[in-house]
Amino acid sequence: MIIIVSLLVLLMFISAIAALIFKDLISAVIAACMVSLIAAILFFLLQAPDVAMAEASIGAALVTAVFIIAIKRTTRYEE
């Protein structure tokens, strides 16, 4: 169990750092979405199903959608 959790945390860090590095903002947003999704899994493992649902539906889905709409209306690449 602890191994799986450690791998998930590692993956979460990699996604977060990817969000830091990517110059393409859409990719960065998707990486941030990945962070939220893994956080939702961790919430579920921490016996918080309510929060896991909220994080998956709000943090991962809607926030990403709003980000992508905003990027479409502004600019896609970070200079």
């Binding site: 918080a48 309510d50 649902m53 909220a54 539906s57 709000i58 709003v66 905003a70 479409k72 209306r73």
Partner: protein
């Protein structure tokens, strides 16, 4: 330079936080309040989902504030985007047939699932916020598929207002009758683990579900305008 200063600053904070975390060992939570809620929550509020009984029962005032924050975001967003001059929408080409059919098929199912989540908030995981978000993601899907269609602004505004007002009015009724506390549970709690139980909790959660659903769809709609 800025990066180095940032890293040094963060390291100092990290060290301090890990010092304080030693007092909070992981996996051994001993909370007076939490234990009380777990033990007495079913009896005092009638909800089997203790998180719901905390969110809409013991700490319902927080939830009123939370609903207000979301409402604020929706109006603030409207106010910020309202003065944009070019309201015209660019010509959007239609989605493919498969996407349209899929959306038409999935949209009612997603709404149904959202409604299920917020109606059963006091029995199973989920509740008004999660259900509302699911409903809003249904609308998001509909925007992707049926690109010409938009929700009615008037309709969503009315749902928003009515949802919020229901919450406030139920609180006021609690203040006026019964034990005379704001948001006190004045309805009978009835049989545990049935749909019609827990007094005002399901009513408030359904109101929140409608409000959050219409608000988030409204936010997406306003952001999408002219995109």
């Amino acid at each position: 330079m800025r990066k180095i200063i940032g890293i040094i600053l963060l390291c100092i904070i990290a060290w301090g936080i890990f010092m304080s975390l030693a007092k909070i060992p992981f996996g051994k939570s001993e909370s007076k309040v939490g234990n009380y809620y777990v033990e007495e929550g079913r009896r005092e509020t009638g909800a089997t989902n203790i998180v719901t009984s905390v969110v809409v029962g013991y700490r319902a005032f927080d939830t009123l504030g939370e609903v207000t924050v979301l409402f604020l975001a929706a109006i603030g967003l409207g106010a910020v985007l309202a003065t944009l001059k070019d309201k015209s929408r660019a010509v959007i080409e239609d989605a493919s047939l498969i996407l349209i059919t899929g959306c038409k098929f999935l949209f009612p199912l997603i709404l149904l699932f959202g409604a299920y989540v917020f109606i059963h908030g006091h029995l199973t995981p989920g509740g008004g916020f999660q259900g509302g978000a699911v409903v809003a993601s249904g609308f998001l899907l509909a925007y992707l598929g049926c690109r010409g269609d938009r929700i009615s602004k008037v309709g969503s505004a009315i749902f928003e207002s009515l949802g919020g007002l229901t919450f406030v009015v139920i609180g006021m009724i609690g203040l006026a009758i019964g034990s005379r506390y704001f948001l006190s549970n004045f309805l009978p709690k009835s049989q545990l683990n049935t749909l019609f139980s827990a007094g005002i909790i399901p009513i408030i959660y359904i109101a929140i579900g409608f409000k959050v659903g219409s608000e988030l769809s409204g936010i997406i709609d306003q952001m999408m305008e002219e995109s």
